[in-house]
């Protein structure tokens, strides 16, 4: 390799400079005239939130499936007041916070729902922090099923105005998890009413 000698520097010929400038200008015009690039793949993307208009407070009733002392789920209607949107991702965060609050012993300590994505096929993808699949927590069919289906049944009953969840896929730190306490959660779980307490 030879080192460039500053004394050998020669300016580009004027014609070449003009051509480059013309090409840049034409390119700019052409790009401006093109329509925006379409979204290539929507799978796995977060449902876009429409623009939030001026606060339009409304009451939304969430149906929570809360584990009871007999290891069955009980339906609780909770009215979430003062909401400005009924977007699925927002409602899901709120519903999970309520589950944690009302049945803290049914989830590993420190569990956080990092984010929520939706797929056009009706799958809600819940991405938790690493505490969620703490293997030392998920023991016993009853505890595992109550924790799992309180989430699945609640999420698939959310009255969101932008998405209706048919099934739920669990992720931890952005990666799918295969097993939770012996339960095969590799593929999405559908709501299951056999765990709901019959009156």
């Amino acid at each position: 390799m030879t080192q460039d000698n500053p004394t050998n520097f020669r300016p580009l010929p004027v014609v070449l400079m003009v051509l480059i400038l013309a090409a840049v200008a034409l390119g700019g015009w052409w790009l401006k005239s093109q329509p925006p690039s379409p979204v290539l793949n929507t799978a796995g993307m977060t449902t876009p939130s429409p623009e939030v208009k001026a606060p339009d407070n409304k009451n939304i009733t969430l149906t929570l499936f809360i584990p009871n002392d007999n290891a069955m789920l009980e339906k609780h209607a909770v009215t979430d007041t003062n909401r400005t949107s009924a977007h699925f991702a927002d409602l899901a965060q709120n519903a999970f916070a309520l589950l944690l609050q009302k049945a803290p012993a049914n989830f590993p300590k420190g569990t956080k729902l990092i984010n929520v994505k939706t797929n056009p096929d009706g799958t809600a993808i819940l991405n938790f922090n690493s505490k969620f699949n703490d293997s030392s927590f998920w023991h016993g069919s009853a505890l595992t099923l109550m924790g799992t289906y309180s989430i699945v049944n609640t999420m698939t009953a959310l009255p969101a105005d932008d998405f209706k969840a048919q099934q739920v896929q669990f992720q931890v730190e952005g990666k799918p998890i295969a097993v939770l306490g012996g339960l095969d959660v590799h593929d999405p779980l559908k709501p299951d009413m056999q765990w709901v307490q019959k009156n």
Binding site: H139, G140, L183
Partner: protein
């Protein structure tokens, strides 16, 4: 890129490249001795996985194997590739080398651990030679096709046009009765896509056939496409045959030879690797799995049946903790007692663990499936945050429902605890085992009263006897 070049350099030193470049007959014979007849690899021009062509051209490793970057297509073969779980690594691998490993996850089997640049796979720490090593190039893992296909239950066959087709396969057929209804289940190595099984019937001679489009012949056919009998008959079914009805793309046809015309009703199955069909006489309302539960029909004997008893948890996985004891300890003791009772009844009993060892869920399933067990029972103790009490039994596949009810009935009677009933849940070990399978929760170790009971050997013996009686009742009534 640099990594790829380095690995190529490494491989060049590991393999005899001059031998690999030629159609080395010695290489071919080595391949044949382990994996059956490997075709002339020089004719292979492209690779297709479950009908999708792999964009990258295949790379030949002498006449040993073909490398192709098809990890992203593994799901079509019912498998996946992931970073290695350190607990699956063979012993003695330093931490600094762990990123050279990855694992293939195959439902119902233990993970297959492989190392970039090494022609060996590890299952449960035991090594198995491969025909060629996987490579990492341009960020993609290139897998040795003829080495990997048998591990996935897939077939790898070369078409006359030089395309190497890797397809899922039809694996096995079972014929049995549920109540008065003849039932046939056909298992495949990968989930069956919707609409890929066509059914046909003929009245003379009477037969019903199913075409599995995109599936090759499994049945331990070892690459053979010859028609063969794959199951004995029962009642109106004389025999079950299978053969490759169409090749490239493949369609495997499974034929039920009947002794009189029958009407078939396909049952939706939660496990997409299982295709189930019920046979009824023409004019009879088609039965469904949900309404063929309780009436006993069989007069079977437990003698000679292979029963896998699975003691839950073990090793570093203690299971649920009680106040004074651990689930894994009681589960093992109950399982050992259950084994004794079943053996006394004449069954051949195999245990997934008989000491305080950790066995993965995949390992437990693989053990039962590979031993072709007739029945699988997994012993657990329940746990919950509240004051829950009692026994419950879980099943997942429809063929397991009667077993679950019989086991729960006897377990309930033996335990004297509240009966929480039979439930269906997607527990791994009962989802992926291919035989009637149940998981019992014989009490709540989290409940101090029930823990005190289960800490008594005589009580554990009662529980085990109850489960054994439930299995015996199931066999007597339904097999």
């Amino acid at each position: 890129m640099l990594m790829g070049l380095l690995l190529c350099a490494f491989l060049a030193s590991s393999y005899n490249l001059s031998a690999l470049a030629d159609n080395d007959p010695q290489g071919n014979s080595a391949a044949s001795s382990v994996y059956g007849q490997t075709p002339d690899l020089g004719t292979i021009k492209s690779v297709s996985v479950a009908g999708q062509e792999v964009r990258a051209l295949p790379m030949r490793v002498g006449n040993l194997d073909i490398l192709s970057p098809f990890t992203s297509s593994l799901s079509a073969l019912g498998a996946s590739a992931s970073q290695v779980n350190p607990s699956n690594l063979p012993k003695g691998i330093p931490h600094s080398q762990q990123n050279e490993f990855f694992q293939l996850n195959i439902p119902g089997q233990r993970p297959v651990v492989m190392q970039i640049g090494k022609a060996v796979a590890y299952v449960d720490g035991k090594s198995k030679p491969l025909l060629a090593a996987p490579l990492l190039m341009k960020g993609q893992i290139w897998l040795p096709v003829f080495s990997i296909a048998p591990l996935l239950g897939a077939s790898a066959r070369v078409a006359p046009d030089g395309t190497l087709y890797i397809n899922p396969t039809v694996q096995s057929v079972r014929v049995f009765k549920v109540k008065e209804t003849l039932t046939v289940t056909i298992s495949t190595s990968a989930p069956i896509p919707d609409g890929k099984v066509l059914m046909g019937t003929t009245d003379n001679p009477p037969k019903i056939y199913f075409d599995f489009q995109g599936f090759s012949m499994g049945f331990d056919a070892n690459g053979s496409t010859d028609q063969q009998t794959v199951s004995d008959g029962k009642d109106e079914i004389d025999q079950v045959r299978a053969g490759l009805f169409q090749t490239f793309p493949d369609t495997t046809r499974v034929v039920l030879d009947l002794n009189k015309p029958m009407q078939a009703s396909v049952q939706p199955m939660p496990d997409k690797t299982l295709f189930a069909v019920l046979l009824v006489s023409p004019g009879t309302a088609a039965a469904t799995v949900t309404n063929v539960d309780d009436a006993p029909t069989g007069n079977g004997s437990i003698k000679g049946l292979t029963i896998v008893v699975d003691a839950g948890h073990g090793g570093h996985d203690s299971g649920a903790p009680g106040q004074k004891s651990l689930e894994k300890t009681h589960a093992l003791d109950i399982a050992k007692r259950l084994k004794k009772y079943l053996q006394n009844m004449g069954a051949k009993v195999l245990m997934t663990r008989d000491d305080d060892t950790f066995i993965s869920l995949e390992g437990r399933v693989s053990y039962a499936n590979s031993h072709k067990a007739d029945i699988f029972i997994s012993c657990h103790l329940n746990s919950y945050t509240g004051s829950s009490a009692g026994t419950e039994t879980y099943y997942y596949t429809p063929q397991s429902k009667n077993l679950a009810y019989e086991v729960q009935k006897s377990l309930d009677a033996a335990s004297g605890l509240p009966n929480r009933g039979v439930k269906s849940a997607r527990f791994y070990v009962i989802r992926h085992t291919t035989m009637p399978s149940v998981l019992t929760e014989s009490c709540f170790i989290s409940n101090p009263q029930e823990e005190a009971l289960v800490m008594q050997p005589s009580y554990r013996d009662k529980l085990a006897r109850g489960m054994a009686q439930g299995i015996a009742n199931y066999v007597k009534k339904y097999r």
